[in-house]
Every structure is written in C-alpha cells, then in structure tokens.
C-alpha cells in the first residue's frame, strides 16, 4: 500500500490529507500526518479568540476527534528531527522511524527573529503556535503579572496581539517600523484610518521606530526594551515579536532537499527530489506567480496548495494555479477584505490609479484600483463593508472597467440586512473626481447568481 506521510497538521497538510482520502477512496493509500504541535488539527488563525475568551481551544478544531479515524487518516504526535530522502525515512524524536513512499512537507512558519539582542529571553515570543498561546498565558495572564507589553512589528499578527492584551487591560506599546500601520501593503488612506482606530483602542502606537534591544532581569525574563532611534527605554514584562514569519524548515538542512527561504518547489509543488512535495507557508516558488510573493504565508493559499497536491498525488497531475488574489483580516473592530491587487503608493506602478472613499464619521473606507488608460478594474480594498467574493472574482476574470464595478456596487454588497448603504455616496464622489455620470444599478439576483433567464 502506498504510504503518504505529511509533516505538519495545519490547514495545508490537513487539506491535502482530506482531499487525497476523498479522491483515493477506492485506491489503497495509507495517509499519516505527523505533528509535534497538537494532536488534532485546529484553526491557527483563531488562536487569538482563546486568549480573548470568545472560545475554548476545543472550539478551534474544525473536525470532531472521531473524524480522523473514520476517514482512515493516522495522526502521530511527534517531532520529526530528520528527513532521509534516500532511504525514504523520517526520524522522530520519540517514536520509531517512519517509512514513506510520498512525502508532503507542510511545516508552516515561525516568527521572524532579526537577531535582536535579548530575543531569546523569557516573555519574548511570537504568536503562531499553540505553544505560543500557552506561553502568552504564562507571561501575560493579567495586568498584575504583566504591567506593560511591547509589540514589535506592524502587521496582521501584531495588531491581533495588541487587541488580545488590551482585552485584559494590559497597557500596550506598539512599535511599527513604517510611518503608518501596514502601509507596506495598504495605500495611505486605508492605513491612516487604521492608525486612528488603533489609538481609539488606547494602544500606544509608535510609528517609524525600530526595536533596539530587549533587556533582561535577574531571572532571565524581559524587563524592558529600548527604541533604536531614540534610545528610550520602555519597561515591560512581555514582548511580542510579530515582524512577519519565515518558513519552518531548519530540520531539513542537509537532507538534500533544495531550499532557499523556503523549500523550493515548481508549479506542481514538487521539490528537487521525486515524491517529495512542499505546500503552504513553507513552500517557495522558483518564480513568483503573477504579483504573488514566492513564499505565501496565507491561510487560503495553504488550503489551495493542499487541494492541488492531492490532485497530483492521486494521478491527476495539476499545476498550482491560484486564481485572483483575495485576502481578509480584522483590525480590532474593522473588517478588511481585498480582491485583486491594490498596491500601496510605494509599490504601485505608473498605470495604477486609485479611487479612495471614506465615510464622514464612521470607520469605513474603500480603495479601488484601475488602469489609468484602459480603466480596467484591478482590485479593491474594503474596510468596514463586506463584499461578495464570487462577484469580484467574476469581474476580474471578465476584465470589467472600474465604471462597471462602481455602477454595480449594490450587487457586491455583503453586509447584513438593514445595514446602511453607502453606494450612492461612493458613486457621487467617483462622479465628481472622474467627471462621469454613473448611476447606481439596482441589486439584481440574476447578475449576482449568474442565473440565465
């Protein structure tokens, strides 16, 4: 029986396992997942909600524990110390070696550490794994133990960590290297609104500063950090390092598997060694696909790679061919969705033009990108308004113009019923800026669901 072993039980590895099992129902394939993090798959993106008290850790598991046995997916909780592709063997920390015929590397990410002095101290960590969550409860359980926390790195995990700590009324200082929150990705209008929102939440936001060093107390725990630019010392009992993540592949060194920043793969997610694949956060494309980065540490791409590799392994060789880019996040109370590409001012090229609209008093805004010449719609950022994924996917495929998108915004609205509608307001501003005379089209189910009459 062909033995397929997957290292890592995150979204990529688990999706691969599930789809292989689905496709290979009749075929004989033994599927094993090895993970040292947890026994069962959980939703990593939801770790924050356990600390917030919205959910218990058990709620994070998308499948009941009996699911795995029922679907004949073996789970092993152990740490892989070495991969030997010549003998097709995995060495485990505790258990016996495992033989495999096909190996899928889905080991995910770990927090970036940029060699800061003191980065190994107690109370200094990222927020990626279950262990990180446990340590956070240890070092920052309440505002008696943790008088202040410092979060370093203005990205998606950083702002989540701020929200978490604030829920326990722990004072938080947020060090952001850029001169505005996440403006390496967000255009200035969107980013500026988030800056304001962060401050509304009583978070001490410091823009344009870097971490100098992390200072130690007599127990080997953090007692303060310094700011590189000013030398200011900020006393704290916890430091969150959230300046991005990097593939978790150190254990593969010397295995002969080709690596750069991550495990190098081609479009079929194959590594340089036959029958060894890499998916999810730990995979690095030889050449970037479209505007995407070679390493994509995103939930959805991990899932998509898992779906793709399952096809290939089950005999239907399939290229990893991600469609139109999309992503989402939540910044404190503000939901963010994006479809297609909207670049920030630094990264966008000459042809990309932006239309930005912001509500007068609510924290709601939208940035729509188009091509200056052809008026082709390129992408949209929406903060505080939910939008229909399928419709934007379709509009991007059909190469619609921004005028078309603007006119059909009512179709795209995905906010709950009875919410305020801002389409007329948005269109009015658009007409003023671009000298157009667009009228909002009424919502049409026929267009939304692509129904034919």
């Amino acid at each position: 029986m062909e033995s397929i072993v997957i290292i890592g039980n995150g979204i990529a590895g688990v999706t691969a396992a599930r789809h292989i099992r689905k496709l290979a129902k009749a075929q004989a394939k033994k599927i094993t997942i090895v993970s040292s993090e947890t026994e069962y798959f959980f939703s990593r993106t939801a770790l924050m909600y356990v600390y917030l008290g919205h959910m218990k850790f058990d709620h994070l598991k998308p499948y009941e524990n009996s699911f795995w046995e029922k679907n004949k997916i073996n789970l092993i909780k152990d740490h892989v110390t070495k991969v030997d592709p010549k003998k097709k063997k995995l060495l485990l920390e505790k258990g016996d070696d495992i033989d495999y015929d096909t190996l899928i590397l889905a080991t995910g990410s770990k927090p970036n550490m940029f060699g800061w002095p003191g980065q190994e101290l107690k109370g200094v960590q990222g927020l990626v794994s279950k262990q990180d969550l446990d340590n956070l409860e240890l070092y920052a359980p309440n505002n008696n133990t943790c008088k202040r926390a410092v979060i370093v790195g203005g990205g998606l995990i950083g702002i989540e960590l701020c929200e978490m700590l604030r829920s326990r009324e722990i004072p938080v200082t947020f060090l952001v290297r850029e001169d505005s929150f996440w403006n390496g990705v967000l255009p200035s209008g969107d980013s500026a609104m988030i800056n304001e929102h962060i401050q509304e939440h009583h978070i001490d936001l410091r823009l344009g500063v870097n971490l100098g060093e992390i200072l130690e107390d007599k127990n080997g725990q953090v007692r303060a950090v310094t700011i590189k630019e000013t030398g200011e010392e900020i006393p704290c009992n916890f430091v969150g390092l959230t300046a991005g993540v990097t593939p978790n592949i150190d254990f593969l060194k010397g295995s002969g598997i080709d690596m750069g920043k991550g495990v190098k793969v081609n479009r079929y997610l194959e590594t340089n060694i036959a029958n060894v694949y890499a998916i999810g956060d730990c995979a690095e494309q030889h050449k970037p696909i479209g505007h995407r980065r070679p390493v994509e540490a995103v939930w959805y791409t991990g899932r998509m790679m898992g779906e793709t590799v399952a096809q290939t392994i089950c005999g239907n060789k399939t290229k990893y061919n991600p469609g139109h880019w999309f992503n989402s996040a939540k910044f404190l109370d503000i939901e963010y969705q994006t479809y297609g590409w909207v670049f920030n001012e630094r990264h966008k090229n000459e042809e990309e033009q932006h239309f930005h609209w912001r509500h007068n008093n609510e924290k709601i805004c939208m940035t729509i990108a188009c091509d200056k010449e052809t008026r082709q719609f390129l992408g949209i950022n929406s903060l505080g308004i939910r939008l229909r994924h399928e419709l934007f996917d379709l509009w991007l495929t059909e190469n619609r113009t921004i005028d078309y998108v603007i006119a059909h915004l009512k179709d795209a609205n995905f906010d709950p019923e009875f919410y305020g509608h801002y389409e007329s307001d948005i269109i009015e501003k658009y007409n003023m800026e671009f000298g157009t005379d667009i009228r909002p089209k009424k919502k049409s189910w026929k267009r939304i669901l692509q129904l034919r009459s």
Partner: protein
C-alpha cells in the same frame, strides 16, 4: 485560575452595584413569597420591577459603555455564569426550581382559588386589576416577569450589538410582540369581552397546542363575531399565513422576530447561546426528538378535536368522520409532496423517519373506523392531552427549556422540543427563499459561527466548504454572521435556484469558471 479578579473575567465596580440593584428588586419579590406584608402593594411592586430593569440597564452601560462598538465576547468562556461554572449551575437550579413551583405547586406562590391571593401573586394583584379587572394568577405573575425580562435584557442585547441593524430591529420586534401581543392585548381583550378565551395572537398551533380544545372553541363561538374571527385566524395562521411568510423569509420571521419563547431566548438567554451542543450525535437526537413531538401534538390535537365533534351531518357539516378523512388527506398530501418532489434533498434517515411516522399517523386515524368512540387512539383522548400538557407543555418547554439555559444553552426547547419550529423548519429546508450565503473562499475555519450558534448548528462545517447553510433548525438570529471576523456569512432571501450548493474545490484555485457557472445553473 490566573484571571481571578481580573478583566475581562471580573465584574467592574459599577457592574457589581448594578447586579446588587437588580437583585434587590428580585429580593422584594422573594420576600413577598414568604408572605411578608407590604403596606402598599402597588408601590412595592413598581419599585421591585423598576429596580430589576434599572439593574440590567446599568449593568449594560457598565459593561459596554466604554467599549467601541463591535463584537465583544471577551471573557465569555472565563466567566462562571456563561461557561457552566458554579454560578451557571446555581442559576440553572434556581430557574428550574421556579418552573417546577410555577407549573406544579402554584399554591406556594400564593395562589388561592377561592378568596384573596397571598404571597407573590397578591403582590401582582394591583397590576392585574388595573389591566383586566381580575385578580392575578400565577400565569399573570409569570407573564409580567417574562415581559420584564425580554424588555430589560432586550435593551442589553441592543446595546451589545449596537453596530448591527439586523439585531437591533429584530430585537425591537420581539420586545414589541411580547409586550403588546402576549401581555397587554389579551388582558385588554379580557376586559372588553369577558367571554373570550385568553388569546395571544402570535401563539400559533402547534406551539399553542390547546388552541382547538372544546372549551376554547366553544368560548370563541359564544363570543360572537370577534370570537369566530379569532378562531378562523387560528386556523389560517398555521395553514396559510405561516407557509407564505416562511417561504419568503425563512422561519426566522417567527422564531427570532415574533415568538415569545424565542424572544426570551434571544434576550435573557443571549449569555448562554455558546453552550449549545454542536456534536453530530446531538444533531441526530434533535431530529428524532423534535419530530416525535410533532407527531405527538398532531395525534393529540386530532384526537381532542375528534372527541367533541358529532356524528350527525345534518346538525353540523364537520363530523368525526369528515374531520378524520380531511386530516388524513392533508397529511398524505404533505407526505407525498415531500417524497415525490423533494426526495433528493432528504437524507436516508429522514426518509425512514417520515415513512415510519406517516404509517403510525395513518394507522391511528384508521383505528377510528374499526373501534369504538372515545378510544380511537389506543389511549383515551383525555389521557393523551394530559400527558402532552405535562411532558411537553410544562416539563419540556418550561422546566428544561428555560430552566436549563445556563447548562444546555438558550434554545433547548426551540431545538429539541418545539413542534412549531419543526414544522416551520421542514418548510424552510425544502420550500423557502431563505439561506445563509457563504462568501466564496473567505472562511478561515475559526469557529466563532459554530460556537455562538444557539441552535447547535456546526455552521463552520458548511462555510469552510464554501457551501450555503440551509438547515431546518436555523432560526435566523444572525449571530453567526455578526461574530464572523471575515465577513463570510450573510442571511438573505433570494431565488430558490442554486440555494444549496457545494464545491469540490473552493474559490481561489483557478478552475474553469464557465464550467462552474454552467453546472451551477443546471441545479
């Protein structure tokens, strides 16, 4: 526990004071139970009820007043009351005890059949006399407290979800229907027309399982045109009005916009919604139990109506035989429709269950033609009615349904017991425009939707597959959509075409889009 005395677990000082104020209002009511004489009953009753409402409102301000608007479930699973901790159990036991006394030992509340009430019921006499002119009963006390709970906790709910218009409007609606339809209008009707039976217009059969009993039907008929209109309204409600509204909006129009049980669950019960059981086994038990109750209530009602109809067609067109044949025809029509037109949407066990129950119903109706008069349903009609009242009407809907809020969640009755919800759910699943749309591939499987689903639906299981949620039990409270951090879920009414769909591969991987669209249209 590391969080003892810490936010977000601990109550802040204003919250503690507010709790004290509310409890002091309840305290007055408890004292009256022990026959402490209050000199001015109207004054003390007003004071007690005001203290309860003010306590809840003050608590709300203390909890949410300083937070930004948005989902704030911080500490829900740390707090003892909302995570089946000590306070959860205490509240559960107290509530259960109250319901047992209310249903089975009202004399302990001070109910005196002949003569002046005592105890807590006497305390409510002035209010009852003011509204209907009659002295209070245990049901008047219960109704008043029930309405107060929906109003006070309704304000809390609205403030908690103040960013969400769907929740605000829906809650105003249940507050209105409870106050006007369940509380004030029936009392005024009693004052204007003493012959009319107590009738809460929004209480539809089979939830209102006693609506077609002999004494009520006689009461309606004796009360003249208004009574007759009410009787006809009662029949139209279940056979005409309900199906139309459920087709257009899903069963939410009733369960979370109008219904009193739903109203209490959504307001006073909101803090317990996360306690519902989401396991597959719970779902299985739910399907069997709730549909058994539907069969039980159907059999019971047919038996009851049958028992007082005559045999002589010359006196009245509706005789025992006509009635039974009519019932059999309606049941067969519904059964045949589901089995012929909707069979591909029914799970195997649903089909077996439906066939089994249909056979039982038909066999019981068939007994009429072979056996004597009063015993047509094996059991005596009166016995059947009595058992339904005790088991389902009192123990299930009251003692378990509400008393167990802090243990099993706030919709135990609606989910496992309510025959009305089951009938509306059957229609919602098979013949309605309502669905919860899943937004493409945006789900991150976080589990907030499933955790906060009061009906125990594993919403995430659908959302992470990119599948719309079309479930008979969904009451459309909208909380899954509200707590979703990524904007994945939307309750909406749309074309029935393509309402349920599931994709092998989620949006994101570049599948052949035109093929997808074509397949989609074929469904």
């Amino acid at each position: 526990m590391a969080l003892t005395g810490q936010p977000p677990k601990a109550l802040n000082t204003p919250q503690k004071l507010a709790t004290l104020l509310g409890m002091s209002g309840l305290g007055v009511l408890v004292l009256s139970l022990f026959n402490i004489e209050f000199p001015n009953k109207a004054f003390w009753l007003t004071l007690a009820l005001l203290a309860i409402v003010a306590g809840v409102v003050w608590f709300t301000i203390a909890q949410y007043g300083n937070t930004s608007k948005g989902i704030k479930n911080d500490g829900v699973w740390f707090k003892s009351i909302s995570s089946r901790g000590l306070w959860g159990w205490v509240a559960g036991i107290v509530l259960t005890g109250f319901y047992i006394v209310l249903y089975f030992y009202p004399e302990y509340l001070g109910l005196v059949k002949e003569g002046e009430n005592t105890g807590i019921i006497a305390l409510f006499d002035p209010l009852s006399k003011f509204l209907s002119g009659n002295p209070a009963s245990q049901w008047f006390v219960y109704g008043t407290l029930y309405t107060i709970a929906i109003l006070a906790f309704g304000i809390k709910f609205i403030w908690k979800y103040r960013h969400n218009n769907y929740e605000i409007i829906r809650t105003v609606s249940v507050m209105f229907f409870q106050t006007a339809f369940a509380f004030i209008i029936p009392e005024i009707m009693a004052r204007l027309n003493g012959d009319l039976p107590y009738y809460d217009l929004k209480n539809i059969w089979p939830l209102n399982y006693y609506n077609f009993e002999r004494y009520r039907v006689n009461g309606f008929i004796d009360a003249g045109d208004i009574g007759l209109a009410l009787l006809i309204f009662g029949v139209l409600s279940i056979f005409v009005i309900t199906p139309i509204l459920t087709y257009k909006f899903g069963k939410r129009w009733y369960c979370s916009w109008v219904c009193g049980c739903g109203g209490l669950a959504e307001t006073a019960g909101d803090s317990f919604r996360q306690l519902s059981d989401k396991s597959m086994i719970a779902w299985k038990i739910e399907r069997w139990v709730v549909h058994s109750v539907v069969v039980f209530v159907t059999v019971m009602t047919i038996a009851v109506v049958h028992s007082y109809l005559g045999n002589d067609t010359s006196k009245y067109w509706l005789t025992k035989t006509t009635f039974l044949i009519g019932s059999a025809v309606i049941l067969t029509a519904v059964f045949a429709w589901a089995m012929i037109y909707k069979r591909d949407q029914l799970q195997k066990d649903a089909k077996y269950g439906a066939i089994g129950y249909f056979v039982i119903l038909m066999a019981m109706i068939g007994f009429h033609f072979f056996s004597g008069d009063q015993n047509i349903f094996i059991f005596k009609t009166a016995t059947l009615r009595q058992w339904y009242g005790v088991l389902i009407g009192s123990i299930f809907s009251g003692v378990i349904g509400t008393g167990f809020y802090p243990i099993f969640g706030n919709r135990v009755w609606c989910r496992f017991g309510c025959p009305m919800a089951a009938i509306l759910g059957f229609q919602q699943r098979l013949f309605s425009k309502f669905r919860i749309t899943t937004n493409g591939g945006q789900c991150i499987s976080c589990g907030n939707c499933s955790t906060y689903c009061e009906m125990g639906i594993d919403v995430r299981a659908y959302a992470q597959k990119g599948e719309n949620i079309v479930r008979s039990s969904c009451v459309g409270c909208g909380i899954c959509s509200a707590v979703c951090p990524r904007g994945v879920l939307k309750l909406e009414n749309g074309p029935t075409q393509g309402r349920i769909e599931s994709r092998q591969v989620l949006l994101g991987n570049d599948v052949d889009l035109m093929e997808l669209v074509h397949n989609h249209n074929k469904k």
